[in-house]
Symmetry: C2
Subunit: 238 residues, 2 copies
């Protein structure tokens, strides 16, 4: 278990405001308290408040308007670090499940891996797993993950049910996702993917290849994700 360090003030305010927005204390379209008010409320200086608001703005939770204030933006639902938005109905929070298709195993990296690897990564081998993500009991994401086996003792024996991979990495190994790159394509589903995602014949799927950076230098997470976007679309901000 990794002991959490002292978190900076702006981060603390960020988490508070984010939680309030997600909990509906501040609703879409609402005006947040002004920067000066937040300074007083949480006894911090304006640069700290501004950094919290800037991060919220960057993550798409609010939009700032000079002379006006910070307005709460509508918010997408997040699964892992993917956002989805239903094209028909709004989607609740509880109908989200994860099913392990292949439990974490140690293996060599595939020969033609989707991203270039460092020598350290290559010789360390990788932890491999396959998961299926279900929304409303229909499979939406098929996620193949690769992690270099660097400083992750006993990871293959951990229980992944009802806990996200990211959460386990954070809680037990102190690994935080800091960002990453992704490539997106539209492809025809293979037989295996059609079966797993319960697709009709000749249905296209979204294919995401992601490389995620962590706070541990040299440690990356890789994912190859196949999405059924018939009912739900991938949602993004920029």
């Amino acid at each position: 278990m990794v002991t959490p360090k002292t978190i900076p003030q702006y981060r603390r305010l960020y988490e508070i405001l984010r939680k309030h927005i997600l909990d509906g204390v501040y609703k879409e379209g609402d005006l947040l308290p002004s920067e000066n008010e937040l300074c007083q409320m949480y006894t911090m200086t304006r640069p700290a408040v501004r950094q919290a608001l800037a991060t919220l703005s960057n993550d798409g939770y609010i939009r700032k308007h000079q002379g006006k204030g910070s307005i709460v933006h509508h918010l997408p639902k997040e699964i892992g670090i993917l956002s989805v938005s239903g094209t028909t109905s709004a989607l609740g929070d509880r109908n989200l499940k994860t099913r392990i298709v292949v439990k974490p195993v140690l293996m060599r990296w595939p020969d033609d891996f989707m991203f270039p690897l460092t020598d350290l990564e290559k010789e360390s081998g990788c932890v491999y797993m396959e998961r299926l993500r279900l929304l409303d009991d229909s499979p939406i994401f098929y996620d193949i993950s690769f992690i270099a086996n660097i400083n992750l003792p006993r990871i293959t024996s951990r229980k992944f049910v009802n806990r996200s991979l990211f959460q386990i990495l954070r809680d037990h190994y102190g690994v935080e996702i800091k960002g990453g790159d992704q490539r997106i394509k539209a492809i025809m589903a293979s037989a295996k993917i059609s079966r797993l995602l319960h697709l009709k014949r000749d249905q296209p799927v979204l294919h995401l290849e992601r490389k995620m950076e962590t706070n541990k230098p040299g440690l990356f997470l890789y994912s190859s994700i196949f999405c059924n976007t018939e009912k739900y679309a991938i949602f993004g901000r920029f």
Copy 2:
């Protein structure tokens, strides 16, 4: 013509460093000058330098490492505000063309528009246009754009060849894109799209629906974009 205002210092440094990175003065993996060095070089204070670097980091041009410095990240090619990465070869700068399929016309909004519209937008009508984006002489993007006809005099009579829509909006109307939302799906190409993008039979395409916010309150740009992702993938950072 809109007169440009005085640009802030951090923005100026951002543009300089960004250009240097794009021009190859600083190459991928290079360490940028330290914050204090940049302060001296451009005679500004550290907060200004830090804001420039933070923006660069946010846009994915650099990655910052505490105790180490700012390292130049690899960079994707940008088309409009879409990034692409070739799956086979690196792609040059010159083989990028835009063809107007439907010249800008004024019309009513479609009845079942992809995003909800305000009353002001509805009664203003919209400027509609269709464009085809070619990479290496093969059509990659088919872009259908909608703009509310608010304070955009004579826009339908402007020449759009060799100039991006965003550039015209910025230069003549002072409109800047500040961010936006997008939905991404994988769909089967319709007959029209197959023809325009020179697709083989039963080939899937990426469909993006975007709503872009501008610096003018109430003015949004909407795009429905169809991408052939066989040779090039959409590239993203997060």
